[in-house]
Symmetry: C2
């Protein structure tokens, strides 16, 4: 479909803009001097080490040029997501040409010196990465690890009804799992209240060293593949720029018109389910407009154009001449004026102000972010008359809080927006209160037997941790708020995304022009200790280990022991910006300990002595130094530590026992290592300077030793945690198999205490007998071993005799 | 297409077999007693806690029954991969009915007592998991974390030309990323030399709490989706068992005939590229044959049938009656004889011996495994005249070794088979020697400009770590050998798969009937220290942290410092079984240290004193106790530690310095924790009992402290490692930014040594000056900071004066 309004003169200008972008791309890859080729090219102008990716770049710049025209024509707000993120120089070039680059980096001005700096800095020590990165204006998407472009694009579009996300997907990336799953977006994107995503599947046929599956698939197959997932693809293909630009322009215009029609209908109450969203399949040569053949070998259109098509340029005069010829083919003298600025007729092609894709606030979501209106937590708090006497499914209160976040953020003054992302486990994770006010988001057909499901639902359930995490990342980077809730073990499916997002936030914090965004909040529930009813695949607390070594200014790990602490932590996390918060807490019924007021105090402190649980409040006048410290981090560990403390209190009441609870795990790290690390005096104040500590930990025990290095007397910490034991069994057997049961903890405490208490031997015998009894029971009764009841305060058998 | 050979009598029998499977499925979920319903059902017969997944099970059993008939009809070798692995009771039931279950678990006999045990053990404490698991005969696929069924199926089919892998994929799993990527299999499956995969996309429409995307998509859309990726799908749908069985039988027969035709043509030299592989889309109700409606609410065919359709059975007489009615609808008395054995006419429906899907050796690959014929390593060894004087791209020798593994395993007596799996990075990772003898595997069209690409290639390159890892896992579990090579940072994309595979091997080792399989060997290269030319996304050594807490009997982490140690380690790993081996080594030019003989000795020891690098061989008669120990694990750390040692030797020659190199990281763990952990006396022999140790580590530094807890004096270890610093820069700047440079190490050594050596202050000043000079240089020169040359022996500036 030819667009009559695209005149030849306009096309000429766009092609010249494209020449400028391509010129600057080549110059970034090759030149450290003479960047505008005002002098004949000499070897010393060429960088000593040639890095960067030419192959995908011309296509990326062509799309950028066509979108620019479309924006100027329609006034659309467009966010450009660069899946083939290795094409960094193309995006740097385009944002430089439109002026945003110099606005955020004033030392790279719009003159000859700026061009020179632009080129020298690229992929050079001390300069900028060769990929699209957090440093690139207009990007919400790091171009390193592939697979998340379309998920990020979808997330950015949610609740942004005016936004068009143009998402370029490379055919290499299209082979990844996460990207392959992302094509299911039409089942989840609501035209009434969300923005739109226009995927541009940019097939140039090759990755680093070989062809790609979609690149070598027929148009019919590629279109069938996309059509089967709710898209209406059109193919734009060719190697002659003029017709390709015309066709791409027409495809974008027609796609956007079609999107507008769907949105208009949906927003006026028409049921638009079943309508297919437009998509563009763009086939252009890899390394388009670059050297066609070098030394008799075909380059353009093959995998050989992936990175640097001409090598050995400094030493090979023929290659140097080829490079100069190539660069001059863009006629730089007609693109940049005498001062080195883009000529006015080309500069005028860029949209204005925030309409420029490098400047759009949707790519700098902190500018759009409104703080959440978080209700008073007292509304959800559990009443606690006496600690450790009632059981409650701990995560339920978070569901209730999120329910009201949903309700509030649908009001104009409610802050937000807010969404929960969860792989089909919202109800299973006891967060189902959200369904009192919203549904699972669903754009496909419904039936009368669906529960809590609808097109206007805003709980995002899809059986893909990658999509949940990727959507949330895009949503946050475009200014939203959210939580990703996952089974603890399966959160590891997307751990590499969490790592990459942490790296993004770490470097974003160094850029003043990037406004703070809401933190990535990950709720890990259905934890290892209470997946006793599932098999061995469901137990894995390794996310904590993965998070510990990451940027300390970004990562926090929270282990609330009960509902009110969970509320307090969630409130903190939802208000915070630029962090990654892991919140680890189980969903099953657990003992509850603290009132909301106590919980707030405890969470603010990070860790506290629980005087009521040890001997300190029971035996007035105890010496400062306890005989043993019992510490816990996590809900099940807290339960077992408290049961152990009670056993000690009842059997050997004169042993001085201190109980410490840790909710902010990073507090264990030295102050010099993590901003939440306790000063040494606070650490010693909790754990003493010399008393042994029996520490029950939610995760793998050695993670605690990893944290404690550098603390006073780390060798006196005796940690029990999950040790890859236990499959289908009982909760009590889980703590026995992993040697973290109350009996194990008491035995360890007796072994490590500063003095051997009277009746200590009897208590040890009692504990061993209890474990032996359990062991025999398991061996003898196998299939009908009864559940061991949860411990409650006062449950422990009193000492005999 | 009706299959005329499927008589009504046969169909009647198959439906009765299916009744038996469904009966045993329900009995496993519900009954702890009266398993054959020989008495009226009473509440106490019912398990106290009802667990398991009914919804998917009847469909899985129907497919099993139809495949059984197909096997008996054709003699095919069929491996059944259960994507909806939560349907564990269905697979347990079918393998019990065919007799394999009782063969591997003799205590669960084929009589009433056996049925009773079968039911009691299911998803009960001390019993078996509710998912298909390593304990399930015939399975190579754990049914917990979803997404890998089709990748495992593809891997199992590679190089097994006689095998048909029937891969059932649930519509929940089909939403995951890895499964979505797996549909690209036709681009990689060679009909000449590989087996076939028949995907059976089992759409019952719902997951735990809601519908699924494919389940609610139209037949046309689902078929377009699959057709676009190289499949020829047929739809079988219905809720009336008779026609569904007939249609499924016909679909399987016709699919297998079509597969045989493709294979026959390919094996007789016809170019079959472009032919589409058959696939089946099976739509049957969720919870088929179960309670249709309970308490007026529709169950069958909805998400409510996902787990346990009837709850509260013990306390609700109406539900108890419904359960009994449901179970008796299968007429158990006509299925099992008086002794509780399956009646003969049904027992005769199972295939015989190893043709039974529960008994196929393809699901117990250790039975098929032939040891690799590994050539003499001397063929690849680098000659080392003097350590640390030559540079070599370390991974190249592994490429050469693998080249010959490929060449040898194509001979009938060559052992194997062997394959390399790598996301498009084989050449980049310097493993390109394999292309001398084989190609990248590629079943789509080729062009004249493709390099090292062909249909018969056996290097598996696809831009998906999930597919690489999943294919390799399937390949190993079916008896093959292989290596997965990945950029270190991006290996984290599939880390959850590595964790789940480790769990599989941990539990497989407890099952005598599972024969050992080849280890999962993962090469992590393009490491954090030498991705200085890439952005911050490319640097992540976290896989080590993820591996450390896993089953010590399974996991090993190897850090070879040079080529000959890499050869020695690779040889060890390729011979080993039932392990997960991480091998971490960079691909860039690195210094080389050990001859092959020395390397073998070093690797066998796990860690050694490098006498030539410290003062021990230089200063005869030095005291036993050095003043400082310098230790390293990894290639770049080894380089920096050796440079530091030389600085110390040259400037302060009387300081007694010991250099220790660690290649087997788990050796640092206490002997009681890991089988490779050094006995304490060996540990002290290396690191002394009291001297401080400056330790340069490849990964995050605190991982070393995690390992060292429990050792003598762990607080005297001062570890430097990667600390999330550095983006595009130079190799030397990377070690400076992460404070692991030779100068940092010398300063630490001077600070920690047992005595302050003469001229130590001058050396410290020199180091600080060098760092300051570097710092100034970086700040002043930014974009044109030169590469700091690699250190070579004798490079360090001699002391002045």
């Amino acid at each position: 479909m030819a667009d009559q309004s695209y005149t030849d003169a306009e096309l000429d200008l766009d092609l010249r803009w494209w020449d400028a972008a391509n010129y600057l791309t080549v110059a970034q890859i090759y030149l450290q001097d003479n960047a505008l080729l005002r002098d004949p090219l000499r070897p010393e102008h060429v960088k000593p080490r040639l890095l960067g990716h030419w192959g995908t770049s011309p296509g990326l710049s062509a799309i950028y040029a066509v979108l620019n025209r479309h924006i100027r024509r329609t006034g659309a707000d467009v966010l450009y997501v660069t899946g083939p993120g290795h094409g960094g120089p193309a995006l740097v070039a385009s944002t430089y040409l439109e002026g945003t680059y110099s606005e955020v980096y004033p030392h790279v001005g719009r003159d000859a010196e700026g061009v020179q700096r632009l080129c020298r800095q690229f992929s050079t020590p001390g300069g900028i990465p060769s990929h699209v990165s957090v440093q690139t204006p207009g990007s919400i998407h790091e171009g390193g690890e592939l697979g998340y472009a379309l998920a990020h694009a979808g997330g950015a579009a949610f609740d942004r009804p005016e936004l068009l996300v143009a998402c370029v997907i490379g055919d290499g990336e299209a082979e990844t799992g996460p990207l392959s799953a992302s094509w299911k977006l039409p089942a989840f994107l609501n035209p009434r209240r969300d923005g739109a995503v226009l995927p541009i599947l940019h097939l140039n046929g090759a990755k680093i060293a070989g062809p790609t599956v979609l690149g070598r698939s027929s148009d019919d197959d590629v279109c069938a593949y996309l059509a089967g997932q709710g898209w209406a693809p059109v193919v734009v293909a060719g190697d002659d720029p003029r017709p390709v630009f015309r066709a791409l322009d027409a495809a974008v215009a027609s796609a956007h018109a079609r999107i507008a029609e769907i949105q208009r209908d949906a927003r006026s109450g028409v049921d638009t389910r079943g309508r297919r969203w437009p998509a563009v399949v763009l086939r252009t040569p890899k390394g388009w407009t670059g050297p066609h053949t070098v030394d008799g070998v075909l380059i353009e259109g093959t995998h050989r154009a992936h990175q640097v098509p001409l090598s050995g340029v400094r030493d090979n005069p023929a290659h140097l001449a080829l490079l100069e010829e190539w660069m001059r083919s863009y006629r730089p003298d007609e693109l940049f004026d005498a001062a080195g600025a883009l000529v006015p007729e080309l500069a005028a092609l860029a949209p204005v102000g925030d309409k420029r894709m490098g400047a759009t606030p949707y790519a700098n979501g902190g500018r759009l972010r409104m703080p959440l209106a978080i209700p008073d937590l007292a509304r959800y708090a559990l009443e606690i008359d006496m600690p450790a006497t009632t059981l409650h499914e701990t995560t339920r209160v978070l569901g209730e809080l999120m329910r009201d976040l949903y309700a509030d953020t649908t009001r104009p003054d409610g802050g937000g927006p807010f969404r929960l992302f969860c792989p089909d486990e919202t109800a299973s994770n006891r967060l189902g209160a959200v369904f009192e006010v919203t549904d699972r988001c669903w754009q496909l057909p419904s039936t009368a037997d669906d529960d809590g499901l609808g097109p206007d639902g805003r709980v995002m359930e899809v059986l893909s941790e990658h999509l949940c995490q990727g959507w949330l990342e895009g949503y946050l980077l475009a200014g939203g708020h959210g939580i990703f809730a996952s089974y603890e073990a399966f959160a590891m499916v997307s751990v590499s995304m969490l790592i990459q997002h942490t790296k993004w936030l770490q470097h974003a914090a160094e850029l003043r022009w990037r406004a703070p965004v809401s933190s990535l909040n990950v709720l890990l529930t259905s934890t290892c200790w209470r997946n006793d009813h599932n098999g061995f695949s469901h137990q894995g607390p390794g996310m904590i280990d993965a998070a510990i070594p990451l940027a300390p200014q970004v990562v926090r790990v929270w282990l609330p022991p009960d509902s009110n602490t969970l509320l307090s932590i969630a409130d903190h996390c939802l208000r915070s910006t630029d962090h990654v918060n892991l919140i680890v807490v189980d969903k099953q019924p657990h003992l509850q300990y603290l009132t909301l007021e106590e919980a707030d105090e405890h969470c603010a402190a990070g860790a506290s002595v629980w005087g009521w649980a040890g001997t300190e409040e029971r035996v007035p006048g105890v010496p400062d130094e306890p005989d043993i410290v019992l510490a816990a981090a996590g809900d099940v560990p807290t339960q077992e530590i408290l049961a152990a403390a009670e056993l000690l209190r009842v059997w050997v009441p004169h042993l001085q026992v201190r109980v410490v609870n840790v909710v902010d795990l990073m507090a264990l790290l030295p102050e010099s290592v993590h901003p939440h690390g306790f000063p040494e005096e606070k650490f010693v104040g909790l754990f003493t300077a010399g008393t042994d500590v029996v520490f029950a930990f939610h995760g793998y025990s050695r993670a605690v030793h990893e944290l404690l290095h550098g603390r006073t007397g780390p060798e006196r910490f005796h940690v029990r945690g999950f040790s890859e034991q236990g499959t289908t069994t009982t909760p009590f057997d889980m703590v026995v198999l992993n040697r973290m049961s109350r009996y194990h903890l008491v035995l360890e405490a007796l072994r490590r205490a500063r003095r051997i208490p009277e009746r200590g031997t009897e208590l040890a015998d009692f504990c061993r007998a209890q474990l032996a009894r359990h062991h025999d029971y398991v061996r003898e009764h196998l299939e009908d071993m009864p559940e061991v009841r949860e411990w409650t305060w006062g449950f422990t058998a009193p000492p005999e005799g």
